[in-house]
Symmetry: C2
Subunit: 134 residues, 2 copies
Amino acid sequence: MPAGPIAPPIAPLTQMMAEYSDPSQCPVRNVLDQLGDKWSVLIITALAHRPYRFGELKREISDISQRMLTQTLRDLQADGLIERTVFPTTPPSVEYKLSPMGRSFLVPLSAMVDWAFEHFPAIREARQEFAKAA
Amino acid sequence: MPAGPIAPPIAPLTQMMAEYSDPSQCPVRNVLDQLGDKWSVLIITALAHRPYRFGELKREISDISQRMLTQTLRDLQADGLIERTVFPTTPPSVEYKLSPMGRSFLVPLSAMVDWAFEHFPAIREARQEFAKAA
DNA sequence: CAGCATCCAGGCTGATACTG
DNA sequence: CAGTATCAGCCTGGATGCTG
């Protein structure tokens, strides 16, 4: 069985495969479900720069609805990726920032982002080619 | 502006942010939309080992429906991540395998998988903590 | 064996209106 | 300012039955 160019990555992938049977128990499923949603990555990306208040985020990610912003922030907080701090001023102010774990997530995320930028032209070409063939 | 522990990743993330306005034009959106779906990663993972035939994949990923398998395979093929080869035997046989680009994708994917495995315990804890607080 | 067409339920998502 | 609540549309995704 020739190893091919990328032997190392396969080990964890195999492990994932073994554990996927119950999606709720699969670490990768759990992470990708979060990533896959429409807004998590954008929020994490914004928070990679600096802490934001709710309204600031709303403006930064202009086309997110208030509901989705609230919901996604809560989910990210529940997973421990971001920290929420309430300042009991009047009017109240709430700050969101990446937790240490959230910051550590930027590493694999940026690897994905790099790959996406590098290969997106090829993907676009492939899609056009595929559409033409059909 | 202190750089913090992970300065490098932020650059591409910023770039992503700048281009996200039109989701269909955002490389990251495009890639993550594919990743985010329920089956792509599992299929890519399976194909990381060796080429598979349709029925083999169906059995390997036992709880995928035929429809979703067909559809996901087609999407991945359209993006140029996998290659489809038809052997005109009777009965027909179709083989799926990762393209070179598909194999290159294993690198960032495995980074995500590694991160997921490493931090999943902490995420589970955070969720329980969060649920308790609420 | 591999794949398509149809039907259908459920969840995601946004718009809107209201609260502390 | 920072949310919550309710409602309605859409689209994903599964089950079933049929074709080459």
